[in-house]
């Protein structure tokens, strides 16, 4: 079956520094795929390249078989690609409700459907319902992470690009994020998960890519990898 997202040999540059040296990977429909690697190997850049925020100088990104490498970011969001960035980037001066509406007020979404989507995320994240009229910037780090994920869910995405969702969160929050990944998965969304938390990624994902120095070095089925494996140690150990 044709993959949902296919990244074909992309190269990117920030100024003169060559960040991605030919990254290739794919994510199937409804599949959770983990992308592991040390800091600065190009994991976040790979997500940004898929989202059209960083333009690859070479290579292609395909979505449902069509090249999307040169589409503007907002068109990609409308196609069904949602992005939850590493630093969350909630709209700090917008209320929680307004943050959600940035994704909800789309052409062709009926009022009933909007209500349904809101009820769903409020059900998963009751704290957002409580704070719906509070400015995004006043939320705690964990709450901002929930808002960033909830906001992405408003787009009814086919794939969510999740960049280090558990970074800097308390253990209780981490397990909540873990549950949310399962929820997204159950609802049929694919996830490309970038994480430093190896056990969580191995547990949540079906397949794993491991990156080093701007390329994918290793590719495995998640259930066949153990945290103690030599390959994990080689590319991720300190």
């Amino acid at each position: 079956m044709e993959p949902l997202v296919k990244v074909e040999d992309i190269h990117t540059y920030y100024g003169k520094s060559h960040i991605l040296h030919g990254v290739s990977l794919e994510v199937g429909r409804g599949e959770v795929v983990g992308l592991l690697g040390r800091n600065g190997v190009g994991k976040s850049t790979t997500l940004k390249a898929i989202m059209g925020i960083v333009r690859p100088s070479q290579g292609d990104v395909l979505f449902e078989g069509r090249p999307i490498t040169h589409l503007p970011t907002h068109r990609l969001a409308r196609l069904g690609i949602a992005y939850v960035p590493e630093d969350r980037r909630v709209f700090r001066l917008l209320t929680v409700m307004e943050n959600l509406r940035t994704g909800l007020d789309r052409h062709g979404v009926t009022d009933a459907r909007k209500k349904q989507l809101l009820e769903k995320v409020y059900n998963y994240f009751p704290v957002l319902a409580e704070r719906c009229n509070q400015a995004g910037g006043t939320l705690s780090g964990g709450e901002q992470q929930m808002l960033a994920i909830a906001r992405a869910m408003m787009l009814e995405p086919k794939i969510v690009l999740l960049d280090e969702p558990t970074e800097g969160l308390m253990p209780r929050m981490v397990s909540q994020i873990r549950q949310i990944i399962d929820v997204l998965h159950r609802e049929g969304a694919a996830i490309l998960l970038v994480e430093q938390n190896v056990p969580l990624t191995l547990e949540a994902s079906q397949r794993i890519y491991i990156m080093e120095k701007g390329v994918v070095r290793h590719h495995a089925v998640a259930s066949e990898l153990r945290v103690s494996d030599a390959v994990i140690h080689q590319y991720l150990g300190v």
């Binding site: 907002h74 969001a77 940035t102 906001r151």
Partner: protein, 299 residues
Amino acid sequence: MGIPLDELLQAIPLEQLLIQTVNGIVTGMILALVASGLTLIFGIMDVVNFAHGELFMLGAYVGVITLAATGNFWVALIVATLTIALLGAAIHVTTLRPLLGRDPLTTILATFGISLVLQNYALWQFGPVARKIQEPFTGHFTLFYLDYPWYRLVIALLSAAIIGALWLFLKFGTYGIWIRATTQDRVMAQAMGIPVPSVLTVVFAIGAGMAAASGVLFGPLVGVNHAMGLDWVLKAFIVVVVGGMGNLGGSIAASIFIGLLESYASLWVSPAQAVIFSFVVLILTLLFRPTGLFVPTPK
């Protein structure tokens, strides 16, 4: 100095002080309308629009032409606003959108270039002789010993209404949310599916339309010629800096402040000299509160 304050105040009758207060608020509201278009464009797009004065001036000319054709001031106001908003959108798409993401200096040069083109176009098209816009009503009311024109009060109220409508537009409704999201984080706004380039075009069009509306409204007071924009826009720039770049509320407060300041100052000195006070405020603001007088100090 040698002159005690009470002696200085004694020389000015209370009525005159009140008249100047009314004058100051009226001028302040007019200024606020010009400045809010400028501050909107700066706050949301990070573009310092040097062509704002020319959009103001062209708006007044479109008003003159429409008024001559229809005889109705209010039709002229609406036609001028819409025409210049469209022109603004066209300017944005052709000139500013291609510069998106480049050094802000390039947009300053671009808008400065546009201002020269528009100003010389107006001179070529309409000639150097000032045109007159007839105010929609010429009634006066008595303010102490003065016949005060109703029209000036109407302008102030209309300015307040237009700014209020802008605020409501930004505060509620989907487009307002899109605009504010774009202001805060352009990349993330795009990632949420907001068509940021079109949002920016709309914002520029709104700013241009507001400039045109103020041009028509003030036409009856100042006369319409190709250089009429310079004066007001210079003051609008002062207001935008004093109010805190891109801060709508701050700009309005600063407009009233500058309006009152100049109008009180002209009790002692000529109105032309009163402008000096505004510049002193500008320089002091830049020296001691560069983020603006009316914004909380950033943390």
